[in-house]
Amino acid sequence: MGFLDIANVTKSYGAVEVLHRVDISVAEGEFLVLVGPSGCGKSTLLNMIAGLEGITSGEIAIKGRAMNGVHPSRRNIAMVFQSYALYPNMTVAQNITFGLEMHGVPKPEREAAMTRVAAMLQIDKLLDRKPGQLSGGQRQRVAMGRALVRNPDVFLFDEPLSNLDAKLRVDMRTEIKKLHQSLKTTIVYVTHDQIEAMTLSTRIAVMNKGYVQQLGTPKDIYDTPANVFVATFMGSPAMNILPARVVMQDGAPHAAVIDAAGQTRHLRFSQPGMAGWAGREILLGIRPEAITDPEGADRKSGNIQHLSNTVVVTEPAGADTFVTMTLSGRDVVGRMRADVTVTPGQSFGFTINMDKAVAFDPDTEARIAP
């Protein structure tokens, strides 16, 4: 049994089930990120943990105590909202201490806790201001202060960074990560941004259409995505997905793809087990960083495949250059070193690290794990 247990939880509005049998167990000190596109049910799940929405069936327990029907304020949780939800009529100090006041904490203790948190978040100079007088980043800190001061068992974050500009978002991300590392608290964090999910979490639950698509460490999720949805949702640029046919050549399974010139090309699988799919169609998934120029190929890889093909577009992005080719009728992006020289229309020798390639069943879109 974990610190926070979500067991078989479903949620329905009337006849419509919006969350289907969610099962997640979170250990103490873990940083769980719920990620998915909007409408996937991640915020609903968070609200259910918070007690802001009822549980249709199943159970949510914190520290072994069932929380179904327990009032939000009795769950010893704290939550940071997307809009921060700072009380506009109260000062920063009042905002931070309101929860303590509601829980009957005496004033001196409240003051002490507030001073501590304010110092930690560097908002001690803002205590007398009203939220309307603060910048976005400052509001974010106050919202976190309000959560921290309660010293809760579980922190809940509902897309806390999505209202910040890009630079501030990166800074605050680091800040949250530091905070987690120093406080060792249990956090459930909702975001639609897969980079936040990857960078912050100890574990990720990728959600779509009310289902948890995959639950695992960032590395699991990235390297062995459970299905096409997870594969394409996590990672930027997204994983290339292209139809291929499994053929046997020299006793080893190959993926047969078609290049820009209409020629069939064979790429050998690293997994011999793919032989079981011989003669059948699959979806081949290759991350852009697994498609490089010959010099940029991963030296540790045991299976580098070469493929020359026509370049469609090149996009220099500073640290890397993204090069697009056409394979099996799809645009396939590769990630080259910055100083590679390619021009559109030219034929170029791509190297593909087939160790990192994954295959999906075209019918179920589930990953084929040979």
Partner: protein, 297 residues
Amino acid sequence: MARETALDLRTRLQEWIPKLVLAPSVAVMLVFVYGFILFTAFLSFTDSKILPSYGLVGWHNYWRLFQLPTWSLAIENLAIFAALYIVICSVIGLTLAILLDQKIRGEGMLRPIYLYPMALSFIVTGTAWKWLLDPGIGLEHTLHLWGWTSFHFAWIKESDFAIYTVVIAAVWQTSGFVMAMFLAGLRGIDNEILKAAQMDGASNWNLYRRIIIPQLRPAFLSAFVILSHLAVKSYDLVVALTGGGPGRATELPATFMYSYTFTRNEMGVGAASAVIMLMTIAAIMVPYLYAELKEPK
């Protein structure tokens, strides 16, 4: 909501408190509005005269109602009055709001001047209006004294035009209020959009017609609710201004209902007219409310 698992006491209480808080209002409304409407509907089928009585007479009161020339006149008048009143109030309100929004010096002075009529009861402003509109002593008379002898304005004395004077006085009373609603709407519009549109080369006319006025939709809707409710209830206005005259030319359903229920001792007919009036209001308002309140899921 589907059946939830058991809740703790506090949560259960919190679930119930909102409903308990709302309950008195709902109860009061059901009894004192809808209960009374049902009671009135019942009365319309009885032989009630001076006080309610409970002898049923079927549709007789409705039959009599539609025999009365004054009733059809009252309905006709309401249609004219409500349409003109709502349209003119909205147009004047919007115009004033737009003009007042042009960084006018003295806005603080003008705004209360436009608003104050709403604060006055028609018991006496009615008399002031009656005098103003009376050609013998009011505006026409004064302008004649000032030398504009061809000026003629005697609508209040003419059966076919008197209802328009009721519109004038009603517009005077509420257009300022409507102005305030539109002004509020205008102030709520993001100025960045306007700047962008101006850079796109939109003329002021186009700016208002294409960009600003469409954004005032909520203000139009609120104005519509308030104006139509005032139009339907207009009673003291007519009583004070024309007393329903000349003849019965400015009778409205509200004055008709009052006079049959209370001064002519024909409560049954009065109730029947009230039912017709309520059904008319419902026919207009229910679709509107439905459209407004439908859940945007």
